[in-house]
């Protein structure tokens, strides 16, 4: 288990705005994703844990080892931390073959066992055929597998991955996810994965920490976070929502219902705990939760008439963009059935509404 409380400040300079990292989290087995926009401090968290960066305050605990404790003046060298780090560019030593890269990393294992262990890793990560080649002579997928094998060969207590799928094409990305799932099953090494790709969070993450400007703004399982973002900020970071200004009209905890005014229309929603009648809120609903239909006279309950502005082709669905900035994702077949609609209404299922 990794437990960290970190604080580090970079004062503003003429050429850069200041930045301060101030957060606390713990992560147990499985993959914990650090999600956030660039500049939110994700990599700084990894570097602090790996010992490349010294925070000003806080404490980092890995299992029973204190890696860093500002109050006690403990700051272990990177060599003593037993964290496997998979770098963004992999950082495989270009002057060594893949096998030598693994041997370099296994130097701490006893000589007799080292050879066996290197072979085992080459086998497991399907690197046997390229073991004698240097990093620039092998494919991107082999480089990537080698960097993970190298990070794992010393049996680290924690795996740190810094946007390892960044810049990979789709097949390599899928392969990488497979490798990492395999690693999770075989090695049971807990991992911290830095990414700003929401798909990756769902593919790999058991837990998710959302970072913004050096602070954690929400944590939980990816599913839960997507279902109920903690605030407008998180919803914007996830980038997966329609966000509409509204005002709460009625609230009925007994029937678990509410009514929210959006523009000139009223929508039925579930009861929103902690809200008051008259609160100005942001209605938050995901594009794939909405449906559309042809308009026939007065719009029915929970329908908002809108004008179709444009449609965007997606691999497996269509995105429809309506007036008022509302986006709807439809399965292709559904869109084909409706494409000749002259006037449109958007249907907001009551249970899908969230307010922020």
């Amino acid at each position: 288990m990794i437990q960290a409380r970190l604080r580090k400040t970079f004062p503003p300079r003429p050429d850069s705005a200041g930045f301060s990292l101030d957060l606390e989290f713990h992560a147990t087995a499985g993959v914990t994703v650090l999600f956030g926009p660039s500049g939110s401090g994700k990599t700084l968290v990894l570097d602090s844990i790996a010992g490349f960066v010294r925070p000003e305050e806080g404490r980092i605990l890995l299992d029973d080892d204190i890696l860093f404790d500002a109050a006690a003046g403990v700051h272990l060298a990177p060599q003593a931390r037993h964290c496997g780090y998979v770098f963004q560019n992999y950082a495989l030593f270009p002057n060594m073959t893949l096998r030598q890269n693994l041997e370099f990393a296994a130097e701490r294992t006893p000589r007799l066992e080292r050879h066996r262990r290197v072979n085992e890793m080459l086998e497991r990560f399907r690197l046997n055929d390229s073991a004698g080649r240097r990093p620039h002579e092998v494919s991107g997928g082999q480089r990537q597998r080698c960097s993970i094998a190298r990070a794992l060969i010393g049996a680290p207590k924690l795996l740190l991955l810094d946007e390892p799928a960044q810049g990979l094409d789709a097949p390599l990305r899928a392969e990488f996810y497979d490798v990492l799932r395999q690693v999770r099953a075989d090695f049971k090494t807990p991992a911290l994965l830095v990414t700003h790709d929401l798909d990756e969070c769902f593919e790999l993450g058991e837990e998710m920490l959302i970072l913004r400007e050096g602070k954690i703004v929400q944590s939980g399982t990816p599913r839960r976070i997507l279902d109920q973002p903690a605030n407008l900020e998180v919803a914007r970071l996830l980038g997966a929502f329609n966000l509409l200004a509204g005002e709460i009209r009625t609230l009925d905890p007994g029937r678990n219902t509410s009514r929210v005014q959006v523009g000139e229309f009223e929508l039925n929603g579930p009861y929103f705990p902690g809200r008051l009648k008259g609160d100005r809120v942001t209605v938050c609903v995901r594009p794939e939760q909405l449906t559309v239909g042809a308009r026939n006279g007065r719009p029915g309950p929970n329908q908002i008439p809108a004008e179709l502005k444009r449609t965007i082709e997606k691999p497996h669905w269509m995105r429809l963009e309506f007036s008022g900035g509302i986006a709807v994702d439809l399965p292709r077949a559904e869109f084909e059935r409706q494409r000749d609609n002259k006037e449109w209404v958007i249907q907001f299922p009551a249970e899908s509404l969230r307010v922020l």
């Binding site: 790996a50 010992g51 490349f52 060298a77 990177p78 060599q79 931390r81 964290c83 496997g84 780090y85 770098f87 560019n89 950082a91 495989l92 030593f93 270009p94 002057n95 370099f104 990393a105 130097e107 701490r108 190298r150 990070a151 010393g154």
Partner: protein, 218 residues
């Protein structure tokens, strides 16, 4: 006429010894400059570079003061080795070092600093000591530039004149290096000797320069 090849062999010997010392000491200084942060770091860099810009006579004068027979360093040398340092071929090595060392430190520092830091982070992360990181990762990655710098330092050591003349003197058969011998031959009107030595030195310099360029970073 019989050409005396001794100055050429002496220069070669001086250049080899001085380059060896420059590589050993220069790498160490360059490593410190590239990896450590301390007060006076840039002052050290400047002090190492200074000989490149000072007039040879000034350098020679400093050296005479520093390691002459009357100086503490000179007396220490004499006590340890039983003979004075100045006006021996070893003094010519010191004179050559004055120029080869800064060349090496400058290039080696730049070469070490140009190695991508993520390799060093990776090595530390994998448990490598600083020593192993240097020998197995940083140095191999910087080695082409360092070889090139060593070749240049060697060429530079081969031809030092001013400082050598001042601290090693011009004793034929003992401290007369090729550069000094050429000067001597011209002064004495010995055109054949001067021409021969000039041609040999030029050819050697060209050869080394070609080597340095081939070794240089690609």
């Amino acid at each position: 006429m019989q050409i005396d090849w001794f100055p050429l062999w002496l220069s070669l010997r001086v250049a080899i010894v001085s380059t060896a010392i420059a590589v050993a000491a220069g790498l160490w200084i360059a490593y410190i400059l590239a990896n450590r942060d301390f007060r006076g770091k840039e002052a050290l860099d400047a002090a190492v570079t200074l000989p490149l810009v000072l007039p040879p006579t000034v350098l020679g004068y400093y050296l005479l003061v520093l390691v002459g027979r009357a100086s503490p360093l000179g007396r220490l040398w004499e006590a340890v080795f039983g003979s004075p340092l100045v006006f021996t071929w070893k003094a010519a090595v010191v004179a050559a070092l004055l120029h080869s060392l800064p060349l090496l430190v400058k290039s080696a520092r730049a070469a070490l600093e140009s190695v991508d830091r993520s390799y060093e982070r990776a090595a530390r992360n994998l448990g490598a000591s600083e020593w192993r990181l240097f020998w197995r990762v940083t140095l191999p990655l910087a080695r082409r530039s360092i070889f090139a710098a060593a070749a240049l330092a060697f060429a530079r050591s081969l031809g030092d004149f001013g400082v050598t003349l001042m601290v090693a003197g011009n004793i034929p058969g003992r401290t007369q290096t090729v550069a000094v011998a050429i000067y001597d031959a011209v002064e004495a009107g010995n055109g054949t000797l001067a021409r021969t030595l000039v041609l040999v030195v030029s050819a050697a310099a060209l050869l080394i320069l070609g080597l340095a360029n081939r070794l240089g970073p690609r």
